[in-house]
């Protein structure tokens, strides 16, 4: 704990002793937040496990009507975006303003692509009346009621995930503004790092969603 007699860094808040303490707190805070996110998605995965353990047949049938092409493409998009995000964090911590901007923009672009593909998928489902509710239709082999349950979970899980992507996009834009103002340097790039953690977490959620929603019992098709 050094008593800072040297001039105070502009990013250092009053109630912290030094940048290190501030950084440690921010980092731990972000991880605590991610903990709550894990439990929030955890509740949904819990529902998924209970339903799937009972209605595997319906889940297989419904899963076959999701597009592996689009889902797989989106998986790749997200992994690439995770790489660009990691590179953005790296560049920001090295103090490369231009590089940081490029990688942030790239990440934002990939996030937009993901959401665009999601939009295409959702529209197809809406067109086929696969939205749970009074107008739900199903012409597959399995019990339509249980398939409806699958699609309920599908929309809630991917919907919550997409909401996180949209928030992530907002955060990226905010970072680009800060970056443009030259706020990041070798000493201070905490916001980029924290948003990076968030972005990677959202990627992790998709890493689980993809096999659990798109790849159930594919071999039996």
């Amino acid at each position: 704990m050094s008593t800072s007699s040297e001039s105070k860094h502009p990013a250092l808040a009053d109630h912290f002793i030094d940048l290190k303490q501030q950084y440690d707190s921010a980092q731990l805070g972000m991880w605590s937040f991610l903990l709550t996110e894990v439990m929030m998605f955890g509740g949904l995965f819990m529902c998924y496990i209970v339903a799937r353990s009972q209605f595997l047949e319906a889940f297989v049938d419904a899963s076959h009507h999701l597009s592996i092409g689009l889902g797989g493409f989106n998986t790749i998009v997200l992994i690439v975006s995770s790489l660009t995000m990691a590179m953005a964090v790296h560049s920001a911590s090295e103090g490369h303003q231009k590089k940081t901007f490029k990688f942030l923009l790239g990440t934002l672009f990939l996030g937009a692509v993901f959401l665009g593909v999601k939009y295409i998928e959702y529209s197809a489902k809406i067109e086929h009346n696969n939205i749970p509710g009074d107008n739900f239709e199903w012409h597959g082999v399995a019990n339509p009621a249980n398939v409806e349950l699958f699609f309920g979970l599908y929309f809630v899980m991917t919907g919550l995930h997409a909401a996180h992507m949209i928030i992530g996009g907002g955060l990226l834009i905010w970072l680009m503004v800060l970056n443009h103002k030259g706020r990041f340097s070798k000493e201070f790039s905490t916001p980029v790092e924290l948003v990076g953690l968030y972005w990677h977490f959202v990627d992790i959620v998709w890493i689980f969603l993809f096999p659990l929603l798109y790849l159930i019992g594919r071999h039996s098709a």
Partner: protein, 100 residues
């Protein structure tokens, strides 16, 4: 602020994630019986671990971050284990008298 990770590692992890994605799609089309789910989830866990350790720098962080990074997953497993003890256990023990 945390020590910089060599970019080389990022590229390697990225390639590993891509390969694992391909494997998980490919193996879904092979009939392994109930092992299909097991393999799919295992690969997902592996991928998530790679992202956590390297992209999210957990490998280079202090013990506290390790605890926080794993606590959520442990707690999720606790939630699943106890809830499933209800669903799975429904046939295990018969109530002496039928419950209302």
């Amino acid at each position: 602020m945390s020590e910089a990770v060599p970019l080389k590692i990022y590229y390697r992890i990225f390639s590993a994630l891509m390969v694992l994605t391909a494997i998980t799609v490919g193996i879904a089309f092979v009939d392994l019986g109930y092992l299909n789910t097991f393999v799919a989830v295992s690969i997902a866990v592996l991928k998530a671990t790679l992202v956590l350790l390297f992209f999210m720098h957990v490998k280079y962080s202090n013990r506290l971050i390790w605890v926080f990074a794993s606590a959520g997953f442990i707690w999720f497993i606790i939630m699943v284990a106890f809830t499933m003890s209800d669903y799975v256990g429904r046939t295990w023990v018969e109530a002496p008298i039928p419950l209302p």
